[in-house]
Every structure is written in C-alpha cells, then in structure tokens.
C-alpha cells in the first residue's frame, strides 16, 4: 500500500519534472536550431545573419569592451591626478581642474541608463496614477469628469508624445547647472505618459468594485473618509493596482526603447540605433544581443513586480503569472 502510493507519487513527480523543465528545454533547442538554420541562409548587406554562436561571441565582446573602457577611465584619472600633483608641486597656488572622462558609453552603461530612466518614469506615473485612480474609483463624478480624457489619451502612441515632450522640456528646463540631462527628462516623461493609463484605470476599477458590504461595515463604524480609503478602498484594490502596475511597467519598458531610438537619447535604444547606422560586420550580432537583453530585462522587471505583489498583496489566491 505505502510502496504503491510512493510509486504513484514518484511517477507524478517525474511527469511534473518533464512538464516544467524538459518541455521548455526542447522548445529552446528547437528555437536555436531553427535560428541557426535560417540565419545560415540569410545574406544581408552587412553579411551573414549571425547564428547563436556568433551572437554569443558578440555578447562576450561587449562585456570585454566595457572592461577595457573602465580601465581606460581609471588610467585617465590616474594620469590627470599625476599631472595635477606635478602642477601643485611646481606652484602651490596653481588652479587644478578635474576634468570628467568623456569616453563612449558602453553597452552595460546604456543598460544602466535605460533602467534608471524607466524606473524614474514609472515611479512618477505611479505617484500620480494611484491616488487619481482611487479618487476616480470612489466618486462617480470624478469618473465622469476624467473618463473622456483618459479614453482619448490612452491610445496615443508614445512616439507621438516624444516631439512634444522634447520641445517642452527644452523650453521649460533651462538651468546653468542641470541636475538631470534633458534627454533623460524627455525619455522619462515619455515613459510616464504611457505608464499612467493602465495603473489609473485598473486602480479605479479595483476601488469601484470593492465589496459593498465592507463599505457598509465602514459606515456602521463611522470611519472617516481618509480611514475608509486607507483601510478599505486601497487594500481592496491592491490586486488590481498591481495588475495595472505590471502592465504599466512592461509598456513603459517597450516605449522607452522606441523613444531612445527615435530621439537619440542615451540608453539601449540608442545603442541599437548606433549599431544600425554603424553597419559593420559585427552590427547585426550586437543588435541581436541588445534585443535579447531588452527581452530579458523586460522579463525580470515583470518578475520583480510579481515578487513585490506577492509580498504586499493579501490576496495570495490571485492567479499570479
């Protein structure tokens, strides 16, 4: 009896392992095979389309270039330091300047830039959209007022925003000592404009569909407006808010890459565009590395949000995938 159940148990375990590990692996191998097969038959103006091995080679190249660049930077500062010391030794009153290093940003630098930008835009959008969504969900009048605006702005492509944002930022953000670069602001604000809507809409739906009985409990307790929002409306809406946030972040990431390409703003998008313009024999491989990186980072961002949702949300039964 016991050995019988154990056997069944192991058999099921085995099947489960096949499903969750072997199937994705088979699909991945098939994908690689299909890729090498078709790449080998595709001749372009930049030469052969690189297969998996060539792309992997480019990936290691890019990392090596990054290391090299960092070493150059260190060397640059060391030289400068030595020069300054000599100057000071000759003449203690000499003015020494510390000049910044102006090397070309590497692939990894561009990744960091893009991540910072997407987070800034996303956070700004969240800070605006969640409170506004709560208000919209609570009050039918706010909903009526806001709904047409949302419906019109929601489908606007980010690339339509970009020229506007660029021009407005140039006009408004005028300082001698800029804390942020204009390109960073432009990209981040464009991301914000696209991240607003899913969070706003989902928060509003989450709040407005909260259990009426719970609201009645609040009324019987004579909870104030703020307490009702904080203790009932917001927690009720948490699962929906997270659905919105995840949508927003993934849209924001896609939008950012496109915006960087179009506006030549630093980031992964610019990297892709530069390689495209560059047109060397390595370019196709490097672009492919960028494509995979963009996809992988997008995936990680979504997983990150999911983990956050698991930690914050009370609704552990919600289907999280």
């Amino acid at each position: 009896m016991t050995t019988e159940t154990m056997k069944i148990f192991q058999w099921q375990d085995y099947q489960e392992a096949v499903r969750s590990f072997v199937l994705p692996l088979v699909a991945f191998v098939l994908f690689l095979g299909l890729w090498s097969f078709s790449a080998a038959r595709l001749e372009t103006s930049l030469g052969q389309v690189p297969g998996p091995v060539a792309v992997w080679g480019q990936a290691t190249n890019l990392i090596a270039e990054h290391r090299e660049e960092r070493q150059k930077e260190v060397a640059f500062f060391e030289r400068q330091e030595v020069r300054n010391q000599e100057k000071l030794a000759e003449d203690p009153d000499a003015k020494v300047r510390i000049r910044p290093y102006t090397g070309k940003p590497t692939f990894l630098d561009q990744i960091v830039t893009s991540l910072l930008t997407v987070f800034s835009g996303f956070l700004l959008a969240t800070v605006i959209a969640v409170p506004l969504g709560v208000l919209t969900g609570l009050s039918a009048n706010v909903y009526r007022a806001i709904n047409p605006i949302v419906q019109i702005f929601k489908p606007v492509s980010p690339l339509a925003w970009l020229p506007l944002v660029t021009i407005v930022v140039s006009a408004v953000y005028v300082t001698d000592d800029p804390l942020f670069s204009k390109s960073y602001l432009t990209s981040a604000i464009t991301v914000t404009l696209c991240c607003l809507w899913p969070t706003l809409i989902n928060t509003a739906v989450g709040v407005s569909s909260m259990d009426r009985d719970l609201v009645n409990v609040g009324k019987v307790l004579r909870l104030g407006w703020f307490t009702t929002v904080w203790k009932i409306a917001l927690p009720s809406a948490i699962p929906m808010i997270f659905t919105g946030l995840r949508l927003s972040l993934s849209i924001g990431w896609m939008v950012l890459i496109a915006a960087e390409m179009l506006a030549q703003n630093p980031g992964l998008g610019k990297f892709v565009w530069d390689e495209f313009q560059n047109g060397s024999s390595n370019s196709l491989g490097r672009i492919m590395v960028a494509v995979f990186t963009i996809g992988f980072i997008g995936f990680l961002l979504d997983r990150g949000m999911l983990m956050l949702q698991r930690r914050v949300s009370w609704d552990k039964d919600a289907i999280l995938r």
Binding site: I201, V205, V217, L221, L223, I238, D317
Partner: protein, 292 residues
C-alpha cells in the same frame, strides 16, 4: 407612557427603479424591548433585509422612521452593530485585526491600548475563536468567519445587534453550534437582537418573538408570535415538547398556507423586478469593461 427601547414607527420604503417606483415596505410597525430577541421571518425578497437596513441606518425610510432610546436613527452607527450575511470581514486583516478595527474606532480615547487588547481577546473568546486570532479570513472556515463577524459586532457594545441571516451560508451542524454559542452569549450579555432567518427551527429556538412578514411588494408585518419557552433552551429536549412543536407549526402555517411562495402569488411583479436587477448588473459590467 414609558419610552420604548426601539420603535420601528410606520416605516414605508419605496425604491426608485428604472421601471418606476417600487414599494418594498408599507407601514411596518414594531416596538422592541431592551434585551429582547426578535426574529424576522418571511419569504425571499419580501423585504426583511430592507427593514434591517433601515434600523441600521444604511437605508433611509421613505416615510416613518426608527427611534432608539428616544433618538431618531438617521445614519449608521456602532450602537446598532450589523452582522452581515456574508461575514464581511476584511480579507487582508486577521481575525484579531478585524475586531481591532472596530474596537479602535469605537473606544478611541476611552480605553487604553492594553484594555483594548483585553477587550478584543474577550470578544474573540466569547465566540470561541481565541485559537485562531491570527488567521486571515481566507484561512478559516465559513463558521469561523461568521464567528469573527459576530465578535466584531459584539465588540462595539451595541445597544441593538442586527443580524441578516447570520448562519444562512453554513451547514446544519455548524449552524447548530453557532446557535448554541449565540444563546450562551445572549444569556450572558442580554443584548437586544433582531435576526433575520429562513429557518423556522432557528427562529423558534432563539427568539422571544417571531415577526412574520407578508410577501412583497408592499410587505408588512403579518403576524407576531410570542415564544414563551423557558430559557435556557435545549434543542434535544425541545424536539419532543408539544409547546415547541405548536410554535413551529404556527410559523409553518403562516409561511406555507396563508402566504404561499411568492413566485406563485406575486405573479407579474416578480419577473419585472428581476429584469430591472439584471439590467443594473449589465450596466455595471459595461461601465467596467469600458473603463478597462
């Protein structure tokens, strides 16, 4: 003349529906003494919840009103605590925290932190939930959730405890347990209680008076039955008692002979009512999907 404890005074309720005004209650009149346990019984849709919600202050009567200890009821408040049919616990708060939410609000500035803690635990003990204080509602059974709902209501120290089919969603055995607990608690605290039920045995076992409502629309009180069974009551002993069976039969007679199933005697009104309900639903769905 002395002032009554609770007076439901000529209450009528007309709902505005898309199909025109709908009179749910007409001239409901009921006086209830302090410490009395009153059950409301009647067919589905006759307006029992509406009566309860008017007393709770969640609905405003179209004409007439409710007076509690000489003060007219015009908004919900913790002195008229409600136990809802579907427990209505905050799913993100543990049993303890759910009761705490009520206690904090009601005893703000009147009890110290330690006193509150003690009071919350006392109320959870009353309903035998002390072992599961730190569980979320999702981790407990239907009966346990309903117990916490009752503990929360009791913790407000209400003058009147309003219960809308508190055990409606429970299986027979759990229901019997809950009824025992409730009789115990009532014996100890002596709250005034209005309870809605569909269950004739439950009504006879628990109540001092059973208020039987006629079928809607324009429902009102059809008959009131005084239950003069001695307390404490024991369901097993009562099962053979002729008195008990007499009360039971009286309620059954009212429900099934004098006021038949509403579906058959209401005829045309019911489908129209249902239609307007489903219309409401679809409107909601449309507005949601438009937003999404």
């Amino acid at each position: 003349m002395t002032i009554e404890h609770l007076n439901i005074d000529h209450v009528s309720m007309v709902f505005e529906t898309p199909a025109g005004p709908f009179t749910a209650l007409e001239n409901v009149n009921l006086k209830i003494d302090e410490g009395e346990y009153v059950s409301l019984i009647g067919h589905s849709g006759c307006g029992k919840s509406t009566v309860l919600n008017v007393v709770a202050g969640l609905l405003k009567a179209t004409t007439g009103g409710v007076v509690l200890d000489g003060t007219e009821v015009d908004e919900p408040g913790p002195e008229r605590a409600v136990v809802f049919q579907h427990h209505s616990l905050m799913p993100w708060l543990t049993a303890y925290e759910n009761v705490e939410l009520a206690v904090r609000q009601v005893f703000k500035g009147k009890k110290s932190k330690a006193e509150m803690r003690e009071w919350i635990e006392y109320n959870l003990k009353l309903v035998h939930m002390e072992h599961a204080m730190d569980k979320l509602p999702g981790e407990t059974s239907g009966g346990m959730k309903q117990r916490v709902g009752i503990a929360r209501a009791l913790s407000m120290q209400p003058k009147v405890l309003l219960m809308d089919e508190p055990f409606g969603a429970l299986d027979a055995l759990t229901r019997a347990h809950m009824q025992e607990s409730l009789m115990e608690i009532q014996n100890e605290l002596g709250n005034t209680v209005i309870m809605i039920t569909h269950d004739v045995d439950e009504a006879v076992l628990l109540s001092d008076r059973i208020v039987m409502m006629t079928n809607g629309p324009a429902a009102t009180i059809g008959e009131i039955l005084d239950i003069k069974l001695e307390r404490p009551r024991n369901r097993v002993e009562l099962a053979d008692s002729p008195e008990y069976n007499h009360y039971r039969a009286a309620v059954l007679k009212f429900l099934y002979e004098r006021h038949q199933n509403p579906e058959s005697d209401r005829g045309e009104d019911k489908p129209a009512q249902e239609e307007s309900c489903s219309e409401d639903m679809s409107l909601r769905v449309v507005s949601n999907s438009a937003a999404a």
